[in-house]
């Protein structure tokens, strides 16, 4: 038998995983994160579709393997580019989804286009599996290693290349894989390999502008660039986002959200700093004259400076430095600023250093770090911890971040912050005011719980909440607020026409005076959240305002099913904007994935049954198809549940979203690969034993992680990465085994079901990724892990027996190829 094209499979797997992450990046620039997530999740069903397709075409694969493999690989390469370019030209506008009946059709077109490259890549691996049965364990291990290399490679590549350039490279890689595949398959003629190599040159010579993401005209950056004379003067791209700096020389940008209506000063000239075309952050031109910054005293976040003298300030999420300037204006003694994105810091410290007045030079000590990790590792105590407002009002108020995990606003985060305050120090958190009130109430609830958990008997004595017409600022004091503090809060508000929402001893009549809303919702809510009826109040409220925790870190999730019919019925009066879209979009994604999966799993089975019946073949001799289905569904779901939950758990421990995903994913792929390789030698190993191994390793992680969060956060990055990998290794090792163990039995019993089993796993992985996020929102990530362990139990029950020697032909775990598409 000819050799399997192992290198080509590895190349295709690497390119496909890189493409998945890259598409997420591209669509986050073009649209918004949650739509990007939905589109890519569904496109990934291409993996499952390849299994369905090949179930129907097994004879052709056996006869014409080499040309079909090369066609699929080059089809992936060229399709990766062509389908993206075509998808960009589909006039899909998610904002019109509920107004324009054509939009769902356009969305379907986008799915189908982007599904094609994944279908081709999946077909490469699946047909190699079907064709080279004796070598499947090797095929799978190179497949997994390829995927791991692809995930790390694309993250590295995106630091040096633009997404468009990276896309060209991925396209070329697909064609190179085809050429390598032809040579590996021992094709007698050379010219096809040369032709395929030449084809690999095509993506590289295309103008990269053709592939540049065309941003939705409704994003903030697109809108800003319509100002006459406005232009992008600096741009940086990394896996963390596309950072654009906009200059508008003719008509100045003046960003001062929620500026008091009594303010007579205007902001000085600014540059606008956008990430992925959203979240406008002002980079202020500062000439050293403090008076030019007076507008920074006219916004609600200036409140804490009126209660403190020459404080030592820590700004979390410093962005382009607006909050640093605010601290400077108010005479801070020392300023530490934490910003996650090194490229924003580089821009402020580099090309804009002089114009920005040394905001990240002498003015503040800037730390490139994730805020939560920085605090946990810090030994300092601050007079003021200022949590900056970095997300954009429009995206926030439309609920676009609903799915995003955020570890800044959780109960545990606030507890961490409080521990790092000097006696009498203040924690200040500013959020957008949404109507009806939700952000501020959810934050207030989190602060109350954080204080209670920190052992404070009377949380009310330490809290103050105010609002301007656009922002709300919450103060939490390390100590009781004094009458002087309260007098300062009142004076601050009166001078700026800001409203008091809560301070200890406040009367209802003092609320809702300047910027009048229908009722004093914030005051009433704050009272209820401090009282014994807190649970009942949160239950009755029409938005989800239960505090976010590290286990359910979805601060921006306010959606309640109960309110949906009411808001939909109010569509004609403008009710739709009150729906937090992130969540329903996720549910819609799940429903679509389920329907598509049912088709992709059901149709091939019907085909197999029909063709079997025609040929007089009876039902499967060794295993029932129902058990095969349950088994592969259970392990597909189990694997993704654990992977996604632990990526989130480790995001906190590694204190960096990007590195956590790269490290955790790579470790999972690597050790799952090793585990499945080892399973080849574990003849007769019952699935139940493997499931027990998974359960024990997962339990170990769950037990050790909280301890690590408390005691190991101060360790250097390398040490924490090592600890993370050590914890993941045994878990992933065992998780790599169930798939090859099961597939070996399927192959021995009814070989033509192999592509079908592959398809089930592909579909399960996609659906599971979406479902894991949905479940985490409701029951938390720990419960998602527990659910995964139950699923592995179900799998062990479905195929209880061990591997008999006759069918010992183990494979690796296919499901490990799937990545959390939000990566």
């Amino acid at each position: 038998m000819a050799a399997a094209p192992l290198i080509a499979v590895a190349l295709v797997s690497a390119a496909a995983l890189a493409y998945e992450i890259l598409l997420m990046r591209l669509f986050s620039v073009i649209l918004w994160h949650h739509f990007a997530y939905m589109i890519i999740s569904l496109a990934l069903l291409g993996w499952g579709a390849s299994g369905a397709l090949l179930t129907l075409a097994q004879a052709a694969v056996r006869k014409h393997f080499a040309p079909l493999f090369c066609a699929a690989a080059s089809g992936f390469g060229l399709g990766a580019i062509a389908c993206f370019m075509l998808a960009q030209r589909v006039p899909f506008n998610p904002l019109e989804m509920f107004w324009d009946p054509r939009q769902p059709g356009w969305l379907l077109a986008v799915y189908l286009l982007l599904l094609l490259p994944f279908l081709c890549a999946g077909a490469c691996v699946c047909m190699t599996l079907s064709r080279f049965r004796g070598q499947v364990s090797r095929i799978y291990s190179v497949d997994i290693l390829g995927a791991g290399a692809g995930s790390l490679g694309i993250v590295a590549l995106l630091f040096v290349l633009s997404p468009a350039d990276a896309l060209q490279l991925i396209g070329a890689l697909g064609c190179v894989a085809a050429a390598v595949g032809w040579i590996e398959c021992g094709g007698r003629r050379r010219w096809p390999a040369l032709a395929l190599l030449a084809l690999a040159g095509v993506p590289l010579v295309l103008p990269s502008e053709w592939m540049a993401p065309a941003m939705s005209p409704y994003k903030e950056l697109s809108q800003t660039l319509r100002i006459p004379g406005a232009r992008v003067v600096a741009q940086r791209s990394s896996p963390l986002g596309l950072v654009s700096v906009v200059e508008s020389p003719r008509i100045p940008l003046r960003h001062a959200p929620g500026l008091s209506l009594t303010a007579s000063t205007e902001p000085p000239p600014q540059w606008g700093v956008f990430t992925d075309g959203e979240g406008l952050n002002a980079l202020t031109r500062f000439d050293g004259r403090r008076g030019t910054l007076a507008h920074l005293d006219q916004i609600s976040s200036a409140l804490p400076y009126h209660l403190l003298r020459a404080p030592h300030v820590l700004v979390l999420g410093a962005g382009a430095g607006q909050d640093v300037l605010q601290a400077h204006y108010h005479g801070a003694r020392r300023i530490d600023a934490v910003e996650l994105n090194p490229q924003i810091v580089e821009l402020v410290q580099g090309p804009f250093a002089a114009a920005a007045g040394g905001v990240y030079g002498p003015m503040a000590h800037v730390h490139v770090a994730e805020a939560r990790g920085f605090i946990a590792a810090s030994r300092e105590r601050y007079d003021l911890i200022q949590v900056a407002l970095l997300d954009s009002f429009s995206a926030s108020s439309a609920g676009l971040y609903a799915l995003a995990e955020n570890y800044l606003y959780t109960v545990e985060a606030l507890q961490d912050d409080l521990r790092h305050l000097q006696p009498g120090g203040l924690l200040a958190v500013t959020r957008w005011v949404t109507l009806p009130a939700r952000d501020a109430l959810k934050l207030f609830a989190a602060a109350v719980v954080a204080l209670e958990r920190s052992g404070v008997g009377d949380p009310a004595s330490r809290l103050a909440l105010i609002r301007s017409w656009k922002t709300a600022t919450l103060l939490v004091k390390n100590g009781a607020l004094t009458p002087e503090d309260i007098a300062a809060v009142k004076a601050f508000c009166v001078a700026r026409s800001f409203d008091l929402a809560f301070y200890p001893g406040m009367r209802q009549g003092e609320a809702n005076r300047f910027n009048v809303v229908e009722g004093p919702d914030l005051f009433d809510g704050a009272q209820a959240l401090l009282g014994p009826e807190r649970g009942e109040f949160m239950g009755r409220y029409k938005f989800h305002i239960e505090p976010a925790t590290d286990d359910k870190p979805h601060f921006f999730h306010f959606f309640k099913w109960r309110s949906l019919p009411e808001l939909l019925a109010l569509k004609e009066q403008g009710g739709l904007p009150l729906i937090e879209w992130g969540y329903p979009v996720l549910v819609a994604t799940l429903v679509q994935a389920l329907v598509a999966s049912l088709l992709l799993i059901g149709l091939p089975l019907a085909w197999v049954a029909r063709s079997g019946a025609l040929r007089g073949v009876s039902a499967t001799p060794g295993v029932s198809r129902g058990r095969v289905l349950v088994y592969f569904l259970a392990i597909g779901f189990g694997f993704m549940f654990i992977e996604i939950a632990f990526i989130q758990k480790f995001v906190l421990f590694l204190s960096h979203p990007l590195y956590a995903i790269a490290v955790v994913l790579f470790a999972f792929l690597l050790f799952a690969g090793i585990g499945s390789g080892v399973s080849a030698r574990l003849e007769g190993c019952p699935v139940l034993a493997v499931a027990a191994g998974i359960a024990m390793s997962a339990a170990l992680c769950l037990l050790v992680l909280p301890w690590l969060f408390k005691h190991a956060m101060g360790l250097p990055d390398a040490a924490r990465i090592l600890i993370a990998v050590t914890l993941i290794a045994p878990l992933a090792f065992f998780m790599g085994m169930p798939f090859p163990l099961g597939l070996a039995r399927v192959e021995a019993a009814e070989a033509r079901l192999v592509p079908w089993a592959w398809g089930i796993n592909g579909c399960a992985s996609v659906t599971a990724a979406v479902l894991a996020t949905l479940l985490a929102i409701h029951i938390g990530f720990t419960a998602v892990v527990v659910a995964a362990l139950l699923l592995y139990g179900v799998a062990a029950a479905a195929l209880p027996g061990g591997l008999d020697s006759a069918s010992a032909s183990p494979k690796d775990d296919r499901s490990s190829k799937r990545l959390d598409p939000r990566g």
Binding site: L95, W99, Y218, R254, P257, L261, E518, F537, G574, L576
Partner: protein
């Protein structure tokens, strides 16, 4: 040389086209009437729950008069009178008619009033306002949009609307003060010059939110003594807690 037969055919075609146009205008009027009735019904329904009175009849008459289909791009003409926001190019939209009516109603423009609009867009809101006020001054920052709106309003005979291209931040000093100001362009804050240009007793209305997604309206009132109060208004009757207050 055009043959008489061809001429006859052309004449017939022209006549038919003119007939179609007349029929089209009648259709649009009927659609506009339907739209107005829908808005009235929605306003009554919301008013019953919020206690906000139904829209001023003058506002509804204006909505029933202004040919909204003239303000949307040709490819959107079939939804011109649907109660939905419509994209008009350049990343801008024309608000859903219910929100236009609500904003106009909140501005409480009188026949003798001078109104400033920041963010002309298609010019539709200015045209509606022009039916109610004496003079409307409108500023648009996106040049092609402003130019189109200028030509369109002139063509449709809105002689009391003046459109200027440029930055609306500093208002329109020459014509200040204004009885009402509508700020339809997104802004992170209310420009202080606009507050200065608002007459004592005047009202300023600002929609907040992204394109297609007007979340809430802010109404700024300048009292006769010059003090400023603001109110946040949800277009819909949606109370976060019912029965609890």
């Amino acid at each position: 040389m055009i043959t008489p037969k061809v001429r006859a055919m052309a004449a017939a075609l022209l006549l038919a086209a003119a007939g179609a146009q007349v029929a089209g205008a009648a259709d649009f009027a009927a659609e506009r009437r339907r739209m107005t009735q829908e808005i009235e019904a929605l306003a009554r329904q919301t008013g019953a729950e919020t206690g906000r009175p139904a829209f001023d009849t003058r506002v509804m008459t204006a909505m029933d008069t202004v040919p909204r289909h003239e303000f949307v791009p040709a490819e959107q003409i079939d939804v011109a009178y649907a109660n939905r926001p419509v994209p008009i190019g350049h990343g801008q939209t024309i608000s859903q008619p219910y929100i236009v009516a609500l904003m106009t109603d909140l501005a409480k423009a009188e026949p003798g009033h001078k109104v400033l609009e920041v963010g002309t867009g298609s010019g539709y809101q200015a045209a509606v306002m022009a039916q109610l006020a004496r003079e409307v001054y409108s500023i648009e920052i996106v040049e092609p949009l402003g130019q189109q709106a200028m030509l369109r309003l002139r063509r449709l005979g809105y002689g009391n609307v003046q459109v200027r291209l440029g930055d609306g931040y500093h208002g329109w000093e020459e014509h200040a003060p204004f009885d009402a100001i509508l700020v339809t362009a997104a802004a992170s804050h209310v420009p202080p010059p606009l507050i200065r240009q608002l007459k004592p007793g005047g009202r300023m209305v600002i929609p907040l939110g992204a394109a297609f997604m007007v979340q809430q309206l802010m109404l700024i009132e300048k009292k006769p003594d010059g003090t400023v109060t603001t109110r946040q208004i949800l277009p819909v009757a949606f109370v976060p807690l019912t029965g609890g207050r």
